[in-house]
C-alpha cells in the first residue's frame, strides 16, 4: 500500500530525512517510532503530499506522491500533530465542509458525516463549537476528519499526544477498530502505544532508518538466539558438570553461567540462528537426573530495543553523515 524508496528531505540547514526505505502492506497498522526531531513528521508530510521529497520516491495507494499527488490525496486521511480544526465552526458543519473538500459525493455527505461522528463517538457534541471542546474531543474530531471519505491509507501524527490516560486508551481502541479497512501509519514516541496498537514498527533516528520489523521480532532482536535455563541439581552435581552436559547438546554453541546459588543454577545458552536446541536441552537435563525449573528465551522490552537502536552508537553513526552534509 505504501512503498518508500531511498527518500530524502533536506531543508536549507539540515537533513530531516536521509535515504529511508520501507514498505507497508495493505491493512497493516504500523508504528512510526523515533525521538523528537527524528524526521517522523517530515516523512509523513511527504507521504501526504504536503511537501515534495528532495530525492527518492514514495508511492501511496499505487500513485507516486510527486507525479500524481492529486490521486494520492484522494486516498489518504491525515491527522497532523495539531488537529486542523476551525474553532469558530461547530462539529457537524466542520465535518460537512471536510466531506465536501474531500470530494465525497453530495448525496452521501450527510450519511458519511453521521457515520464518522458515530465511529469517533462525537455525535453528542455535534452542534457544539469546536473552540468549546476539550482536548480529547478535538482529537476525535480530528480523527473523524481523517476517516470521513473512507481513505485507503490513514496517516496519524502523534494521535494521542496531550491526552489524559483515559482518552489515550479510548483513542487507541478507536485506531485499532479502524484497522483492517484502512492501512494505518501512526507516529509516536510512546512505546507502550506501539506495543498496544501496532503490528509492525519502523524506527527512525536523526532522519535515518534504524529498524523496520514486526513488534515480536524486534523484541527478540539484539538478544540473538539465546535460551535461558534454570537447573536444580539438588546438590548432585556442580556447575562445571552441568556446563559440560549442556555444551554437549547438539545445536548449543556457547554456555554462559549467569547466576549460581546453592543447588540452583542459571545458564545462558547460545545457538546458531537456524537451530532450536530447546527440546534437546530439556531432555539432556532430565536425563542427567536434575530438575529443569525454567527454560525460556529472554526478550527485551520494546523500550530496551528502542534505546539500544537510537542510543549512543546510532548517534555517532549519524553524526558523520551530518558533518558530511555541512
Amino acid at each position: 500500500m505504501i512503498q518508500v524508496e531511498s527518500l530524502s528531505k533536506k531543508y536549507a540547514r539540515h537533513v530531516a530525512v536521509d535515504n529511508i526505505s520501507f514498505s507497508v502492506e495493505k491493512g497493516d497498522i504500523v508504528g512510526f517510532l523515533g525521538p523528537n526531531g527524528a524526521g517522523k513528521t517530515t516523512t509523513m508530510r511527504v507521504l501526504t503530499c504536503f511537501m515534495p521529497p528532495t530525492a527518492g520516491k514514495a508511492v501511496v495507494a499505487g500513485f507516486d506522491v510527486f507525479e500524481q499527488p492529486f490521486e494520492v490525496k484522494k486516498r489518504i486521511g491525515y491527522l497532523p500533530e495539531t488537529p486542523p480544526l476551525y474553532p469558530e465552526m461547530n462539529v457537524e458543519d466542520y465535518l460537512t465542509f471536510i466531506a465536501r473538500l474531500k470530494n465525497v459525493p453530495s448525496g452521501e455527505i450527510k450519511t458519511r458525516t453521521a457515520e464518522a461522528m458515530e465511529r469517533c463517538a462525537i455525535a453528542d457534541v455535534k452542534s457544539k463549537l469546536i473552540s468549546k471542546l476539550s482536548r480529547g474531543y478535538r482529537q476525535r474530531v480530528g480523527l473523524a476528519q481523517a476517516i470521513i471519505h473512507n481513505p485507503d491509507v490513514l496517516i496519524l501524527d502523534e494521535p494521542t499526544s496531550g491526552l489524559d490516560p483515559k482518552q489515550i486508551t479510548e483513542t487507541r481502541d478507536l485506531i485499532k477498530g479502524l484497522s483492517g479497512a484502512h492501512t494505518i501509519i501512526l507516529s509516536t514516541h510512546i512505546l507502550p502505544e506501539v506495543e498496544a496498537v501496532c503490528r509492525k514498527v519502523i524506527i527512525i533516528n536523526r532522519g535515518r532508518l534504524v529498524a523496520t520489523d514486526s513488534v515480536e521480532h524486534l523484541k527478540h532482536r539484539g538478544v540473538g538466539n539465546t535460551i535461558q535455563v534454570q537447573v536444580d541439581t539438588a546438590g548432585n552435581a556442580d556447575a562445571q558438570a552441568v556446563r559440560q552436559t549442556l555444551e554437549q547438546v547438539p545445536g548449543v554453541s556457547k554456555v554462559l553461567e549467569k547466576a549460581l546459588s546453592e543447588g540452583r543454577m542459571i545458564f545462558e545458552l547460545e545457538s546458531p540462528p537456524d537451530s532450536n536446541p530447546r527440546a534437546d536441552v530439556a531432555r539432556a537435563i532430565v536425563h542427567a537426573g536434575w530438575s529443569l525449573l525454567e527454560l525460556k528465551s529472554p526478550t527485551l522490552s520494546l523500550e530496551e530495543v528502542y534505546l539500544q537502536l537510537t542510543g549512543a552508537n546510532a548517534e555517532t553513526a549519524t553524526g558523520i553523515v551530518d558533518g558530511g552534509v555541512r
Binding site: 504536503f50 515534495p52 497532523p80 486542523p84 474553532p87 465552526m89 473538500l101 470530494n103
Partner: protein
Amino acid sequence: MRNIWTICRRELYSYFVSPIAWVLLAIFAVVSGFFVYIISAGFVRASLEGQMSGQSFPMNLNEQVIAPLFSNIAVLGLFLIPLISMRLFAEEKRQGTIELLITSPVHDSQIVIGKWLSAVLMYSALLVVMVADCSFLFVYGNPDWRPVATGFLGILLQGASLLALGTFISTLTRNQIIAGAIGFALALVLWILNWWTSFANFAIQWPESWINPVELFSFVMSVLGLVLNYLSIANHMDSFSRGVIDTKDLIYYLSMIFIGLFLTNRSIGWLRWRS
C-alpha cells in the same frame, strides 16, 4: 468549480459567524451614511442658495453627489480591505489548517480563488449598504442610473484588486496583524503613487539633445510620472464614477487581480517546498 465554492463557502461562514463581518458592516454603514448625509446636505444647500440668489446654476445629482460619494467610499475601502483580507491565509497558517487544505484533493489555485472570492463577496456585502444609501437619491431625486451602476462596478473592481494583493500578503505571515499592516501600507502606497505626478504635466518631455543632463532628467521624470500615474490605483476609479468604462482602467484592475492571485498561488507552492 465545486471545490472553489466549498472553500469560499467556509470562508464566508467564518466571516459571518465571527464578529469581523458585523463590525465591518457597522463601520461601513456609519461612515458611508455620514458621507451621504454631508454630500447631499451640501448639494441641497447649494441648490437653495442658487434659488434664493435668483441665479440658476446647473445642478446635477450624478456629478455633485454620486461621483464624490464613490470616490470617498473608495478611500474608505482602503482602510477596510486589509481588514477583510488579512486573515485569509495567516489564520490558516497559525491554526495549522493550511496543512489540511494542502493535503486535500483540491488544487492550490482553487484554494486561492475560493478564498479571494469569499473576500470579494464579503466586500460586496458592504456595498449592499451603499445600495441602500443610493436608493434614497433615487427616491428624492432623479439621477441617471448608468453612472451609478458603473460606479459600483468600479468600486468592486478596485476592491477586488486590493483584495487579491491582500490575499498574497496574507500568505507571507502567520500573524494577521502584520498581514493587515502590510496590506494597508501597500494600499496606501498604491493610492499616493500619483502624487508624484503633481509636478508632471502628463506628457513625455522629449529632450532636444540627449546629452543635456537637465533635459534628460526631465525626460526620465516625465516617463516615470506617466508610469506611476498609471500604476496608482486612485485614478482608475474616476472614469467609472463618471459612467465611462475605459478599457485602460478595466485592464488595470484585471491585471492587478491576476498578479495578486498569481503571486498567492506561487507563494503557496513556495510554502510547501520550504516549510
